[in-house]
Symmetry: C3
Subunit: 281 residues, 3 copies
């Protein structure tokens, strides 16, 4: 896979030197002092997870794994959207080959993030529905800015969140709350999310959210990194294994479902609504 990368040293007044790399749709900045990498999604306007953003996310996670970063903080360049989730255009009247590549990449990206050996935290600085919530709940810690919403709202769109979305959700929420929210396609406000444990802390803005993520990653300062990583992977082994063993089946299930006329019709109506909304603004 060919990707253009920009490697640069950024010196900012009053801040620590950062080593920064960028793919087309993500940037990675490693703080020189803390050794923590900030991975920023940058696909305007809503960080819709299309094939290319998912590829870039995976590459950036791999890079952070291999460059000895002390942690990974996932955030967004948008001021209102963390990620709007899977790009509907990938699923509506899909190209046969591309949709296979798209879903396979989503699997790969999740396996890399959920199973990452590095401490992970999400600075949720905007709305975070569906795939956005998946990314956030795949991290070990979540700090969220007020007045946004987060949740797996797939059923509202007529889609079924696959089993591993459910696993990420269940790693954070009690079963009773997780099942009901997923059935309802419920979006939680920042305050509601804090109350049920879907997020761990709130922060007034993105900067403060990142600071709190840095503080969380700092709790591992005295911990042996190898022992930590093996412990985390042992905790998540069953969830990761379940997808790894059933990747093909999971792909076929998705393709079958997404190609149902009723689902295509629903996605079409949804897209039409988005277009009208955009025209009005």
């Amino acid at each position: 896979m060919m990707r253009s990368k920009v490697l640069s040293l950024v010196a900012r007044a009053g801040s620590n030197r950062m080593m920064s790399t960028a793919t087309k749709l993500t940037t990675v900045e490693v703080n020189d002092k803390t050794g923590i990498a900030t991975l920023t999604m940058n696909r305007p306007p809503v960080n819709g997870l299309n094939l290319e953003l998912l590829q870039d996310l995976k590459s950036s996670i791999d890079e952070i794994e291999s460059n000895k970063s002390r942690g990974l903080i996932l955030t967004s360049s948008s001021s209102t959207i963390f990620s709007a989730g899977l790009d509907i255009l990938e699923m509506y009247k899909p190209d046969k080959d591309r949709i296979r590549a798209f879903w396979t990449q989503l699997q790969d990206t999740w396996l890399a993030l959920y199973g990452s050996s590095v401490p992970t935290a999400a600075a949720i600085n905007g709305h975070s529905p569906a795939g956005g919530c998946l990314l956030a709940t795949s991290c070990e810690y979540r700090v969220m800015v007020p007045n946004f919403t987060i949740g797996l709202n797939e059923t509202q769109l007529g889609i079924v969140a696959p089993q591993w979305f459910m696993a990420s959700f269940l790693s954070v929420l009690p079963q009773r709350i997780a099942e009901r929210a997923l059935n309802q396609g419920r979006m939680f406000t920042t305050e509601e999310a804090l109350k049920v444990g879907l997020i761990d802390e709130t922060a007034n803005n993105k900067e403060e959210a990142i600071e709190k993520c840095v503080a969380f990653i700092g709790t591992f300062a005295k911990v042996n990194p190898l022992a930590r990583s093996l412990t985390k992977q042992q905790f998540r082994a069953a969830d990761l294994q379940q997808l790894q063993n059933g990747r093909k089946e999971d792909l076929e299930k998705f393709l079958f479902f997404v190609n149902q006329p009723a689902v295509q019709k629903g996605l079409g109506i949804y897209l039409e609504g988005l277009k009208k909304k955009a025209k009005k603004q």
Copy 2:
């Protein structure tokens, strides 16, 4: 299976027209306005779950599944008992064939209720021990009237709640609380049940309990029914599969246990106690 059914259109002053069907021991009323079915257990005096009530429950659940109801509310015609659980008379000095049919029917009824594609809620308008608690925790939501008790109290009777009773309980309660309560055979008051999450809300009376169940089912108004149903079934697949794969084993385990002389003796003493109690009243 032959069952007498009464189909009638009921028009009540000040209420919505209801389509109502009845088996011998259950009634189903579908509210014309909301499209929600109320399934009422009606086997006086305590809705003891015998073979026939379990059969009627299963038929009524199937009917609600197939008649396009928007939800199922399970309640009782008694003013003090939701369901007293499995009918001890089915287990004490049992007929060899009937007890097999009884347990197999219990399995079928649970599989239908726990795995129902329709949103389910229990309006718990009376005491709900053992099998009564199983029915309630197999629904997705529970509203309970004060001054009653609910719990899996099998160990108090010298019986072991099978693995799938445990699964229903665990779908609602944290493991630490669920295990301890099941070991103790603990009955929770309405207030205690609310505190630990065994129920979701309280209501002053049956009518209000049903209203709150209707409101819960209303949260699915904008949700795609197929996506909702597949999501729920995915959440419950492991529990349902476990019984489906082990039905014979589960039946034999129950038969072996219930036929132990010590268990039969215990049931006999319990029945004797019930008779004395009844005489005093």
Copy 3:
């Protein structure tokens, strides 16, 4: 296995007659009135879990299982340490045969305690890191004296707590809290432990802690012991089975890990630190 045992009848002023037996490193006192056995670890200075203490614990658990005790309360003879966990000397530059026996014994002791048919409670009258926390969370109830700490801090020592430590932890804590604490190697104060549910109650001193454990075991007074024991074992079956099925693999995994030069070096540094600390005091 040869063990010297002392059997004696102890009559104390103002207390109930106790039947007491002792192994070299543990004592078992059965209260004549309550029928509850107190199992005291007595390997000064810190109840380090070496091969012999683990053997004696297993023998004492077996004894309590077979002498018809109504419950088991695990506590420590030390006034500041419940148990400091696995004896590092068993793992540092280990003898090839002894370390196999040591780990196999740890497995056996855990299987016996976690799977015990008798109601179990821990009176945690001192610090309880790592293996100490494993023993405490393998019981059904925990009462802890203030100003001590408890947790699985293996990652702080560069060690990975095996899957069954994790299972015991998860039987008590929600997944989100359990995973994070295990990754951090977090030690909880008595107050923090109460808040998250890692312990169930606090008590001002050991005597009061034991009283509260007695009260917990008393909640089973009206429960059929066989039904209770089968119910508990059904709850814990999956966890127990996982180790039983993978004992050899678990042993080899431990041996491989503990013999890593980096781990040996870490243990050496840790032991050196302990020696310096001891000299200063």
